[in-house]
Structures are given as structure tokens and as C-alpha cells.
């Protein structure tokens, strides 16, 4: 206790030097917190956006889908989609269950045929999914909803251009059915949509689920998308749904959004690496700021060390005094850094700054910082450890000092 207090007072003996060290730590660690906060924001934003436009929280597949290649489409689809979807409502956390079928084939305007990749969907539910977090392009399904029950299709904008079709034109979809036979259906174009990547937009179509079922001649669906109230519930619900499925004899495999979100994983991985690199550099700066403070203190106070030792302070106690000084430097520094980061993030979040779009993406994203308590605690702990370690090393010199030399003999 005494040593902590002395460490505290000693720290503020050389006000300017300590202030400089604290400024370095505050600014360095503060910037680290801001970087991490921005990464957390991107992580969170991309995560919720991916979930609430594409993946949902959980995806249910027929077990065999992952065990064997399908020989015909939907060979390993889900048979009792409606029944399962209804039963899943028993879980309070489940907000939305929807079916999708992915299909491929040829699309033709009568003169020209090109390959398509399609999603058969339930438009109302897709719209609902895309409004649960923020509006992630929910208008994309409006026309399909208006023309409920009709033989309609929505095309990727690039595909519509390439086929030279417009609203009200008819196109033909051709694909093989679940039995491997060829089948075709004529559909009226009611909308076009844009999507992030042009390559995808050149091939993409959306059709209502019933249309796809008739085209493929099946009642199956490809997968069920389950959306929960909170992303944090993902793993718990996965386990509960797995248990429930096993008990009720449904041969289902449950995948989480993370397993299905390759793009999310890449982006987050990329940002983690950058943050990791910055953390390392900043911790090294903290290390040297505090090494410098303590080394200078040791040199200046050599005589005092001699005095303390000669009145009976043990060497361990003396080392502790300097060590406390370093720990306090780190502690005060991380408190200031936290305040700095909180203040700057409040400013930045209030300013509505937009960043330019990332390569390959069509829209920019906001410069926002998401402060997470756990991150603050972890960074503060790392800072204190770094400064504690860096003060302990030079402080150990005390154990080798000769008292008379320290006192400045003669």
C-alpha cells in the first residue's frame, strides 16, 4: 500500500516527463481503441446485414445434402418445409422461418438464351427479413408481393439488359425437374433488382416459391432460413433445434450464419489482422514510453534508492515501488485512453461521416465506432501488463545496486 502511494507520488514528481509518457499512452491506446471500435462496428454491421438479407441466423438442410452430391435438383431437399416451419414457432426466439430453393437453368427471351442462377423465395418473408435490422433493400420484393400468385419473375438488372426485356415482357425459364426431366415455364417480368456484384447480377433471377415448385415438380424446398430475435442466441438455438429435430425424426443439419457467410468471414479476418498489427505496434510504444520513464526515474533517484535501502527497505520492496510506478502509469494511461476513445467516438458517431466504398462494393459505409466494454477491459489489461513488465525489467537493477555506490560515496 505504502509502495503504491509512493509510486503514485513519485510518478508526478517529474510532471512533464510523466505527462509526455501519459500522452503517448493515451493517444496510442486511444487510437487502438478507436481502431478496434471501428472494426467492431464493421464486424457488427456486416454481420447483421448479412444475416438480415441473406443467411438468417440458422439454415436447415436435409442431412444427406452434405453427405452426397445430388444427382437431380432437390434430391436431398426438405420434404416437410411448412410443417417444420410451423413447429419452429414454438421457440420464442424464432422470429421468422422461410424457405428457399436455389435453381439453375436457361432463361430465354425467345431469341436469346443465357444461363441463370435463381432463388425461389417467399417474397413477403424476404421483405420482412430485410427490414428486421435496417432496411437492406426490402423494396426488391415489392413487385413480387404485388403480383402474388401470378407467374412472374424479377431479374437482375444486368440480366434484363442483356436479354433486352422490360416490365411486362415474357421470358421462359428452362430447367430439369426433380426427376431429371426437362421443364419450362413462361413468366412475366415484373421487376429488376440491383445487387452488389455485377457478375451475379448478370445471372440472377428471383421467382416466387410456388412457381419454382411447379417448374421443378416437387413440394420440397432447398433449405429453411431461421431468423432469431438476437444474434447472440444463435448457438443456443442451434443446439436446441438439433435436439428437437432428432427427437422428432427430422433428418436435419443445422448451419449457423457464420458457417454460411464466407464474405463476412474474409472481411472480418482482414480487419482483425490490421487491428492485431496496430495493437502490436502500439503496445511496443507503451512499452518504451514506460521503460523510458522508469529508467530515467531510476537514474535520477539512485541516491534516494540508497537512502531507502540503508534505512532497511528490502530490495524487493524497492523494486516493487518502481514497479508500482510503471503499473500506475499504464493504469492511468489506459483510463485516459478510454476517456479519449469515448470522447472521439462520440464526436465521430455524431458527425455522420461516410467512407468511400471498398473495392468491389457499390456503396460507401459510415465511419462509425462501436465501443464494447469487453474490448476496453482487455486493452486496459494489456496496457497495464505491458507497462508493468517494462517497468519491472529496469527496476530489477535495484537488486544489483550496491548501497554505498547508490548513496554516492564521498
Amino acid at each position: 500500500m505504502t509502495f503504491l502511494l509512493m509510486g503514485f507520488r513519485n510518478l508526478f514528481r517529474q510532471k512533464r516527463r510523466t505527462a509526455t509518457a501519459l500522452m503517448v499512452i493515451t493517444f496510442g491506446i486511444g487510437c487502438l481503441l478507436l481502431t478496434m471500435g471501428h472494426t467492431a462496428f464493421i464486424d457488427w454491421g456486416l454481420r447483421e446485414q448479412t444475416i438480415h438479407s441473406e443467411t438468417g441466423h440458422l439454415q436447415l438442410f436435409n442431412d444427406r445434402f452434405f453427405q452426397k452430391e445430388e444427382e437431380t435438383i432437390l434430391e436431398f431437399g426438405i420434404d416437410d418445409a411448412e410443417e417444420i416451419a410451423a413447429s419452429l414457432q414454438q421457440f420464442l426466439e424464432v422470429q421468422l422461418v422461410q424457405s428457399r430453393i436455389s435453381l439453375m437453368g436457361l432463361i430465354s427471351n425467345g431469341d436469346k438464351s443465357v444461363a441463370f442462377i435463381g432463388d425461389a423465395i417467399e417474397p413477403e418473408k424476404e421483405r420482412q427479413l430485410r427490414t428486421m435490422f435496417a432496411d437492406n433493400g426490402s423494396a426488391r420484393f415489392d413487385s413480387l408481393i404485388v403480383h402474388r400468385g401470378e407467374e412472374v419473375i424479377s431479374l437482375g438488372a444486368a440480366l434484363a439488359r442483356s436479354l433486352n426485356v422490360q416490365y411486362g415482357d415474357w421470358v421462359t425459364l428452362m430447367t430439369s425437374t426433380v426427376d431429371g426431366a426437362l421443364n419450362a415455364v413462361d413468366l412475366r417480368v415484373v421487376d429488376t433488382f440491383r445487387d452488389g456484384t455485377v457478375e451475379y447480377e448478370k445471372r440472377a433471377v428471383n421467382i416466387p416459391l410456388p412457381v419454382a415448385r411447379r417448374l421443378l415438380m416437387t413440394d420440397r424446398v432447398g433449405k429453411l432460413i431461421v431468423t432469431l430475435d438476437k444474434t447472440e442466441h444463435t448457438l443456443v438455438l442451434r443446439d436446441r433445434i438439433i435436439t428437437w429435430a432428432a427427437e422428432n425424426g427430422y433428418g436435419l443439419t443445422v448451419k449457423t450464419w457464420k458457417e454460411q457467410a464466407a464474405y463476412y468471414r474474409q472481411v472480418v479476418q482482414f480487419f482483425r489482422q490490421i487491428t492485431g498489427f496496430i495493437s502490436l505496434i502500439l503496445l511496443i510504444i507503451v512499452f518504451f514510453a514506460s521503460v523510458n520513464t522508469i529508467v530515467m526515474a531510476l537514474v535520477e533517484r539512485t541516491r534516494e534508492i540508497g537512502t531507502l535501502l540503508s534505512v532497511g527497505t528490502s530490495r524487493a520492496q524497492t523494486v516493487m515501488m518502481f514497479w508500482c510506478e510503471g503499473l500506475l502509469l499504464g493504469l492511468i494511461g489506459s483510463v485516459l485512453a478510454t476517456l479519449f476513445a469515448l470522447a472521439v467516438s462520440a464526436l465521430v458517431n455524431g458527425a455522420d461521416i461516410m467512407l468511400p466504398p471498398a473495392p468491389g462494393s457499390s456503396s460507401g459505409y459510415p465511419l462509425s465506432i462501436r465501443n464494447e466494454f469487453a474490448v476496453f477491459v482487455r486493452v486496459a489489461a494489456a496496457t497495464v501488463v505491458a507497462s508493468g513488465f517494462s517497468s519491472l525489467l529496469p527496476a530489477l537493477r535495484v537488486t544489483r545496486m550496491k548501497i554505498v555506490d547508490a548513496l554516492g560515496h564521498i
Partner: protein
């Protein structure tokens, strides 16, 4: 039977090696410090006074000979030395050497903290030591707010507060004017007589040397004169 001396030095020598040359700071020192003694180490500059006091205070180790503390050889166990310094030796420096970040009260309390004396016992001892050196009203002052004489009084309070067997003082008055120095010496004499604290101090001031009970005069690292007053 004679009581065991507080500190006894037997054929103690101290040499410094500076490159190839060897400086003999002390050689063949035999000294016995009895309880309640008031001993001065006299001698010209460079005669070895500081070296001798450092050896007595266990803040330096001899190159030859043996030092007995309460009849027990000290040896070179650092932990044992630290324990003896903490519990049984008070040290007063020529340059006062107070801890600048502590106020008067805290400087005096510090040795008690090291000994683990806490609470009201510590408070009482500190107050007593402060009143013995006449500085009760300065307890909140920082060392730099005190005069040299006052600082040395604080140093004396710090040395005596734990009631050590012996207080060592290396030229305690050399940095003070002669009247202040005289006051400090009077204070030490008083403490010696009233509390029975043993003092060993060095000086080359004849006025001060005259007040000692025992005089050890050094010359070139050897004892030239060893005089015990009747």
C-alpha cells in the same frame, strides 16, 4: 562479566580496487561499541570515517575481518543485513537524505512501516519522535519546505523512531552552520542521556569531538587514537 558490545569490529579492513591500483581505505580496525556509548570517529578528510560508518551500518561490506552485531557475526547474508538495518540501526546522513515525496510525518513513520508497526502504536511513536526533535508543528511539511537544521532533525527523528540499538551519523553537522550544528549535537547528547540511545558519529570539528564519550581518531585508514572517557 562485561556485557556483549553492541557492535564489535575485529581486524576489519576495506580496500578499493581502482584498475590496477589498490586503495586501502581501512585496515586493522578493532572497535567495540558499548551500549549507551556516544562515540565520535574523528580524522582528517580521506582518513576513512565514512567508510568505517558504512561498515558499521552494514551498508557496505569489509574486504577483511569480521563484524559482530550483538555478539553475532554478520557475514554477507543480504537478508540478514537488511533485517538488522531495518530493526536495529538508525542512520543519519550528512546531506539529510529525506524522501522528498513524503512529508515530515511520513518520513518519520517510514521505518515503522517497514517494521510492520501500524495504527495507533505507530502514530504515538511518530508523535513522540517529532516532539523529541521539536518538530511537532511541522508534520505536514515537505522536506524542501524546511531549513537544513530542521531537515536534520527530521532525519534524527526518523533514525530514533524505531528505538534502534544504535544510531550512526556521518558528519551530521557538516552541512549546517556552527550554531545549528551545535543544536543538533545537543539534541543527540540529550537523546543519548535520556533515552540511552547509542550514537556513533563522525566529525572533524574539534568542538563537536570534545563532546563525545569515546573518541576514535583515524589516520590513513588506521586507528591513531582510541580514547574512552572516564
Amino acid at each position: 562479566m562485561k556485557p556483549t558490545p553492541l557492535i564489535r569490529m575485529q581486524q576489519v579492513g576495506k580496500q578499493y580496487h581502482l584498475g590496477k591500483t589498490v586503495v586501502t581505505a581501512l585496515s586493522g580496525i578493532d572497535i567495540s561499541i558499548e551500549h549507551r556509548d556516544f562515540m565520535v570517529i574523528a580524522g582528517t578528510s580521506g582518513s576513512g570515517k565514512t567508510t568505517l560508518l558504512n561498515l558499521l551500518g552494514l551498508i557496505d561490506s569489509p574486504t577483511s575481518g569480521t563484524i559482530f552485531f550483538n555478539g553475532e557475526s554478520v557475514g554477507d547474508d543480504r537478508h540478514k543485513q537488511t533485517r538488522i538495518r531495518r530493526d536495529s540501526i538508525g542512520y543519519i546522513f550528512q546531506t539529510f537524505n529525506l524522501v522528498p515525496v513524503m512529508n515530515v510525518y511520513e518520513n518519520v513513520a517510514y521505518p515503522l512501516i517497514l517494521k510492520g508497526v501500524a495504527g495507533s502504536a505507530r502514530r504515538e511513536l511518530v508523535e513522540r519522535a517529532l516532539s523529541q526533535v521539536g518538530l511537532s508543528d511541522r508534520r505536514k511539511h515537505k522536506p524542501r519546505e524546511l531549513s537544513g537544521g530542521q531537515r536534520q532533525r527530521v532525519a534524527i527523528a526518523r533514525a530514533i523512531v524505531k528505538d534502534p540499538g544504535i544510531v550512526l551519523a556521518d558528519e551530521p553537522t557538516a552541512n549546517l552552520d556552527s550554531s545549528t550544528g551545535g543544536e543538533i549535537l545537543d539534541l543527540m547528547t540529550l537523546l543519548n542521556e535520556e533515552l540511552g540511545t547509542t550514537f556513533v558519529f563522525s566529525s572533524h570539528d574539534p568542538m563537536i569531538i570534545a563532546k563525545a564519550k569515546t573518541t576514535v581518531r583515524l589516520h590513513d585508514g588506521r586507528i591513531e587514537q582510541y580514547e574512552v572517557a572516564a
